[in-house]
């Protein structure tokens, strides 16, 4: 059974993905499909709310790496919010905070678009 899930919601023209559970090489394809679908739907303003994300491995970070350039070149962004310290630490080890908009709170991300 996959211990990872994604729920999608909308705040005006911003798509929010609430991701829960453990994001690893097994579950990363679910996130990848969700991001691909948003791009196909021309939804380029994306927030990934990580408040219920318990774990991330580099395969999960790889998904963000693969799509951020496309989304930004189309005038949007993928903003990441509400990470636990443990999850943030993995992004930090790899230097992501200088490359991605990682925010404490979803509202900041909404206002940042």
């Amino acid at each position: 059974m996959k211990n990872f899930s994604i729920a999608k919601r909308q705040i005006e023209d911003i798509s929010v993905l609430d991701i829960s559970g453990e994001l690893d090489a097994h579950t990363a394809s679910q996130l990848e499909n969700s991001l691909k679908n948003l791009i196909d739907e021309q939804s380029y303003r994306i927030i990934v709310n990580c408040s219920r994300l318990e774990y991330i491995a580099s395969a999960g970070l790889g998904v963000f790496m693969a799509y951020i350039e496309d989304v930004r070149s189309l005038g949007g962004d993928i903003k990441l919010t509400n990470m636990t310290d443990r999850v943030y630490n993995v992004f930090d080890l790899l230097g992501f905070p200088t490359l991605y908009d990682i925010l404490d709170d979803e509202k900041e991300a909404v206002n940042g678009f």
Partner: protein
């Protein structure tokens, strides 16, 4: 180094389906020696990255290939050894990833080895007959 009296072993096929089982196996045993939550989460991630690399690189996503994980303790260390029979990893050929460049090129991957080195106190790659071994140590 003091001898280890308890070695725990898990044998699994090389499949991402087993990732959470492998992480839980090492976390359960790491907890018994009183490691902090931070240390345990670092060990879980390092083992996840090593096992994922075996699936993707040593076995190139071929299912049903064997992986053996051993874990033990000394007075001062927790050690984890992960063995496979696939293509060996050459640490001398490895370069730390330039994340910014990879994002520009829409590349992913290459981060696991870097993370393992950051998360563990010692990392060794050994060749033992037909087996490749990655041996990782966390100081207690």
């Amino acid at each position: 180094m003091a001898t280890t009296d308890n070695i725990h072993t898990l044998s699994v096929d090389a499949s991402t389906e087993h990732l959470s089982e492998v992480r839980d196996f090492v976390a359960t045993h790491a907890r018994t020696v009183g490691l902090s939550d931070k240390d345990i989460s670092e060990i879980r991630l390092a083992v996840d990255e090593a096992y994922t690399n075996i699936i993707k690189h040593a076995y190139k996503n071929t299912p049903s290939r064997p992986v053996r994980i051993e874990l033990g303790f000394t007075n001062s260390q927790l050690w984890i050894s992960i063995m496979d029979e696939g293509e060996g990893f050459k640490p001398e050929d490895y370069k730390a990833p330039n994340i910014s460049k990879r994002i520009k090129n829409k590349q992913r991957g290459g981060m696991g080895v870097f993370l393992i080195q950051k998360l563990m106190d010692q990392v060794q790659y050994n060749q033992k007959g037909p087996y490749n071994e990655i041996r990782m140590v966390k100081n207690l």
